[in-house]
């Protein structure tokens, strides 16, 4: 059994969370620039051009892209034969405090009953940490997401009637969810969809995590799922909602679907959105403690000097 020290995880996560709030993954930035170039409608184009300028100003000034830096979410995928030694929750809480001070991130986390704000984005179980045992990788994968509220609240999950026609039900549920949000989820979005899974929180987890699939708008390995993804991606963009619902040809930058085994009478469908400012950072930690920043490779140099 190889062991990675929790302290290493903490140092890496803090940098990731900080930089995720300021620099979009390259694939997302490219997709926004492409949408801005190709948009024929003047108002939609003006909106997309403002987004491009925002990415540039954020980089120049070193400030968060969006004031809603959200609640940090951490995802850890662990391969077989690798363990973490130490107090993972404590180091991720400390990483959150540090990124909140350094970026700075908005002081977001509040007690749900009293509205008391902890001031450092830590408290009462926040930040959430999701661990997945993944036997298809041989490194630890870490995902840090400063997840804003505007897209999260328009995410939803339903349980269809067991006999409902599968494809029509999936298509209608996703298209209805996109149309209801109508761009107020800060479109163009990345849309995550999950079908199946049990309980419903697992379905929602899969939909939300599907958002961060790379490359952006790549297809699922199961051809039936890939076909649904492709049809949904086209249909969503055909709605013409455009940036922030002002009309335009790009409503979603990518659409990713996951499936999972479920109860025979309960096949939940979850739809999750991320705003155009789809901020996340992914890194790999190998069993020999080597760190590779995937979405923010500029951190590779900074990290090797800084440690």
């Amino acid at each position: 059994m190889k062991v990675i020290q929790a302290d290493l995880l903490g140092k890496v996560s803090s940098l990731m969370l900080h930089h995720a709030s300021k620099v979009l993954p390259p694939g997302v930035e490219r997709a926004i620039r492409k949408a801005a170039e190709e948009e024929p409608k003047p108002k939609g184009k003006a909106y997309l051009q403002a987004m491009v300028r925002n990415m540039e100003v954020s980089r120049q000034r070193g400030v968060p892209l969006c004031q809603d830096t959200g609640v940090p979410m951490f995802y850890i995928d662990l391969p077989p034969g690798l363990a973490i030694e130490g107090d993972v929750r404590a180091v991720l809480e400390e990483a959150t405090r540090k990124a909140t001070r350094d970026a700075p991130l908005r002081q977001q986390v509040t007690h749900p009953l009293t509205n008391v704000n902890s001031g450092d984005n830590v408290g009462w179980g926040a930040p959430p940490i999701f661990v997945n045992y993944n036997n298809r990788i041989d490194y630890l994968e870490l995902l840090a997401v400063p997840r804003g509220g505007g897209a999260e609240i328009k995410s939803s999950a339903v349980v269809p009637i067991p006999g409902a026609p599968k494809e029509s039900t999936i298509l209608k549920t996703v298209l209805d969810a996109v149309a209801m949000a109508g761009g107020e989820n800060c479109s163009p979005n990345i849309v995550g969809v999950a079908v199946g899974g049990f309980g419903i929180d697992f379905t929602e987890y899969l939909a939300r995590k599907a958002i961060y699939r790379e490359p952006l708008n790549s297809r699922h390995e199961d051809p039936q799922v890939a076909d649904l993804e492709e049809r949904l991606f086209r249909a969503v963009n055909d709605l013409g909602i455009g940036p922030l619902g002002v009309g335009g040809k790009t409503t979603c930058l990518g659409l990713h679907m996951e499936i999972a085994g479920c109860h025979s009478a309960v096949f939940p469908i979850a739809v999750s959105f991320y705003c155009w400012s789809a901020r996340y950072s992914r890194a790999r930690i190998y069993p020999d403690a080597r760190v590779e920043f995937v979405t923010h490779p500029e951190l590779n140099k900074e990290f090797s000097h800084g440690k």
Binding site: C66, Q67, D68, R106, N117, G150, K172, E184, D238, G240
Partner: protein, 234 residues
């Protein structure tokens, strides 16, 4: 439809507001105040109690921005704007009519839509609703020249009222103009409806189909009580 550019300066001249048309672009110079959940609520409560004099800032002719900004302390005192963008405005709809009626702001800037029911209040009080491009908080913060003041600090950084001095703050698009046109209604009942019908037809979908087993209605919503106590029509 407009698409004309307008440069406004606070206190905003009412005649200039009459010229704004749906989808025109506005750049604001002067004073802009942030309002969010708790400050909106407090303003509404004070006005309801007839205690307008307890509101420590004067919004007449000024800009309001629905925002919970990131602000940092500055060395040697004061603050600097880090990231300042608009938040979803629809949740503030109930608080807006008394605010525009009694405090007479020049323009209201936010994100998304406002309830159709309050459009008449905005038109009567001559306060158009403008949208800041969602997610562009780095860009908008760069147009804030100075933070003039902070009110109600007990609400914390996000919900306090911040008074900014801004220069060419924009682009802001006109979403509700003083003719009572709303881009939200036009788009949803026009282009989106047309596109939805086409996309559903192409996909062979029945737009009226009801595939959902649960939740039949949302717990906590106005329909839940009736659902629990009445038999559904089959």
């Amino acid at each position: 439809m407009g698409n004309k550019d307008h440069y406004l300066r606070t206190p905003i001249d009412a005649a200039q507001l009459e010229d704004l048309r749906l989808d025109d672009i506005v750049y604001l110079t002067g004073r802009l105040f942030t309002i969010r959940d708790w400050s909106h609520q407090r303003i509404a409560q004070l006005l309801e109690k007839g205690e307008k004099e307890k509101i420590p800032f004067d919004l007449r002719g000024m800009g309001i921005l629905h925002s919970g900004p990131i602000v940092a302390d500055q060395e040697g005192g004061g603050w600097k704007a880090v990231s300042v963008g608009a938040t979803s405005s629809s949740r503030f709809s109930p608080f807006i009519p008394p605010l525009v009626r009694d405090l007479h702001p020049g323009i209201l800037v936010g994100k998304g839509h406002l309830d159709e029911g309050i459009v008449k209040d905005l038109v009567r009080e001559k306060c158009p609703f403008l949208q800041a491009v969602g997610g562009c908080a780095a860009l908008y913060a760069s147009q804030i020249k100075r933070i003039v003041n902070r009110y109600w600090p007990e609400f914390g950084m996000v919900d306090a009222v911040w008074e900014f001095e801004v220069e060419d703050f924009g682009p802001l698009s006109v979403e509700i103009d003083l003719q009572g046109n709303t881009s939200y209604r036009l788009f949803r009942s026009g282009e989106l409806l047309k596109n939805l019908n086409r996309v559903y037809e192409e996909a062979g979908l029945d737009k009226g189909a009801d595939y959902v087993w649960w939740p039949r209605v949302l717990p906590g919503s106005k329909d839940a009580f009736d659902y629990a106590t009445k038999i559904e029509k089959g």
